[in-house]
Symmetry: C2
Subunit: 154 residues, 2 copies
């Protein structure tokens, strides 16, 4: 027993289809979030605040339940960051118009400004990546991203 066989050969695309793209996606995302992470720390926030703030700006008036469904985290995880964003004046809540149990979430001017600041490096990064590829091929990238997202065991 204890057959501690050691592997010295690198894993290859034959072992793992799309190995290269798996790796590229890791690196791309690592750097994609690194820039906003640096800014967030100056505000005492983290990545979770960024995501919540992003979608509240993207769909003002969305409810807590809708936001949970987008982020795919638990109520408790969201509660913490939402509370801090509200206390800091980046987001406000208001009762649902038709269902007063619901809380509609809106960004304040301050929250809008913050998401603009956080998005700048990401816009730049994607823009300059698009500069590298044929304009006619750019839609393929978005199509790709759209279908990487998706059920397939959600």
């Amino acid at each position: 027993m204890s057959e501690e066989e050691i592997i010295t050969q690198a894993i290859s695309s034959e072992d793992v289809p799309q190995l290269e793209n798996i790796e590229l996606l890791f690196f791309a995302y690592r750097d994609f979030v690194a820039d906003p992470d640096r800014i967030l720390r100056q505000y005492g926030f983290g990545r979770a605040h960024h995501r919540a703030l992003f979608f509240v700006n993207r769909r003002p008036g969305l409810t807590v339940a809708e936001l949970l469904d987008i982020l795919k985290i638990t109520k408790q995880s969201l509660a913490r960051v939402l509370k801090q964003l509200i206390e800091a004046g980046h987001i406000v809540q208001s009762e649902g118009k038709f269902d007063r149990r619901k809380r509609m979430l809106f960004p304040t001017r301050q929250g809008r400004n913050l998401i603009l600041e956080l998005s700048q490096p990401q816009s730049r990064r994607i823009n300059s990546a698009f500069d590298q590829i044929d304009p006619e091929l750019r839609e393929a990238v978005s199509d790709f991203l759209r279908s990487v997202r998706g059920e397939q065991s959600e």
Copy 2:
């Protein structure tokens, strides 16, 4: 003061170039890591173990310093997961051939098997996303990912 101006209009691509693709990248990555996350939990591991194990399989014999540089985390963060991967028999260390201060990292057969298992859903996801787009446009996606990665304030 306390001018709590509320914004009810959704942020748009005019405010933030590439807004759509920023959002798509979030969703793509969210789902891309969700599958392996489920498997990892059965082993008592987390996302950090996945990444370390991936690159040890990808470049067997790499040193701790090289791995740190790839992952862009601190020594202490890596130490914990590396220790656990070694104890669990997925990775082994050996002294550097020329510099005996260095530790070369290799996967065991078991570690190779685990990364194969973790990669399967990711391979499938990327493969089926590629199925959706013209074969001639696929290289554009890799080019895009390659250039999203990159300095620009590293």
